[in-house]
């Protein structure tokens, strides 16, 4: 299977793990369906929006076992190998904000990058990003620190009335 195109609503490794579990559940359903006695009622599994969208975007027919297996393998590879960015915010970001962020990350950093969201109240404004080997302070505090001379100049101007 060619590289899996991750939907913008698949954000974190937890989402990938959930998709994999859902696929396993779907496989189990089909196994059960083959083994059922004739005339017994079937309880169809309810697929999540994420799985549906992922299947649709990657042209995967979830009724086909081979497609499901390929999708499961691809998700497993992503779960194991895809780069994960840990981003901490001061408060829980909205889905819309996360979607905007993941689109930018996959467009600029890596097409299969995953984002793990954390909470860090001390960040206040901005975020704190951790990659496998580095940490990036993208908070307002760090930004103010970078522009300290300008800040000093502004404060000096405010004090001296300039």
């Amino acid at each position: 299977m060619e590289r899996l195109k991750l939907s913008s609503i698949v954000i974190s490794p937890a989402d990938v793990a959930r998709l994999r579990r859902e696929l396993v559940g779907l496989n189990d359903f089909f196994v059960d369906a083959q083994a059922r006695q004739t005339g017994t009622a079937m309880r169809l599994p309810k697929l999540t929006r994420i799985l549906n969208q992922l299947a649709k975007e990657n042209n995967v027919n979830l009724l086909e076992e081979s497609d499901r297996n390929r999708l499961s393998e691809a998700l497993g590879a992503i779960y194991e190998d895809a780069p994960t960015l840990h981003i901490s915010f001061a408060s829980e970001p909205s889905p819309k904000a996360l979607e905007k962020l993941i689109v930018w990350v996959r467009g600029n950093i890596h097409p299969q990058a995953l984002v793990q969201v954390g909470l860090q109240p001390t960040v206040a404004v901005g975020c704190f990003l951790r990659t496998p080997n580095k940490a990036f302070d993208m908070s307002l505090r760090a930004s103010l620190k970078k522009s300290q001379p300008q800040l000093v100049k502004l404060i000096d101007g405010a004090i001296n009335g300039r």
């Binding site: 600029n108 206040a124 901005g126 990003l129 990659t131 580095k134 300290q148």
Partner: protein, 211 residues
């Protein structure tokens, strides 16, 4: 006149007075001796002469002579007493003058010494005060310099600390002011701009992490 001369004058006056007194006593007691007993011819002649003398110088005559002598003595005594009195008065006057002059001179010298002592003490006091003032001024300048240095140092420390913590302080104020009103969605432009600025580093780290 010095004290030696004064003592010489007083001594001579006393000697004169003693001489007069001695002479008066002598005259009073009769200066002629009593006739001695008969013995030799010479003694007899002597006695005869004495008798003649006594005959000539009988009691009245002797009394007359004595009176004259007494008067003369009294006159001389009076004159000498007057001279002595004059001398004594003069000496007393001189002594007074001398004593006055000496006392005045001594007092003037003492006053001069006293004045000099006062001037010296005053000068010493002034010097001491000047030294104290200079020391105090030095101490003041030293303290002023020390305080200024300490103040500058403290000021620099405060400024440095403020500058170091400025970002945190402003961040804290921003958080206090609008922290509860800012949503992550509103911050997204800022976050994406920051990520864009660090894009290269993030990509490189991810590539290094995946290889």
């Amino acid at each position: 006149m010095n004290s030696g001369g004064l003592i010489l004058i007083v001594g001579s006056l006393l000697a004169t007075a003693v001489a007069f007194i001695w002479l008066a006593f002598k005259l009073e007691n009769g200066g002629v001796g009593k006739p001695k007993a008969k013995g030799t011819q010479a003694d007899q002649l002597g006695d005869a002469a004495k008798e003649d003398v006594e005959h000539i110088f009988n009691t009245e005559f002797r009394e007359e002579l004595r009176n004259r002598g007494r008067l003369h003595f009294e006159k001389i005594l009076g004159e000498n007493a007057m001279f002595l009195q004059q001398d004594l008065r003069q000496t007393t006057t001189q002594l007074n003058d001398y004593m006055r002059a000496e006392i005045t001179r001594t007092l003037q010298e003492e006053f001069k010494k006293y004045e000099q002592s006062i001037v010296d003490a005053k000068q010493i006091a002034l010097d001491s005060i000047e030294k104290t003032v200079a020391t105090i001024e030095q101490q003041r300048q030293f303290l002023e310099q020390q305080m200024k240095s300490e103040t500058d140092s403290q000021k620099d420390r405060l400024i440095t600390r403020f500058e170091n913590e400025m970002a945190t302080i402003v961040n804290h104020y921003v958080l206090q002011a609008i922290g509860s009103q800012i949503d992550v969605t509103d911050q997204m432009d800022f976050i994406l701009a920051e990520m864009q600025a660090n894009k290269q580093a993030i990509v490189e780290d991810i590539k290094r992490g995946t290889t």
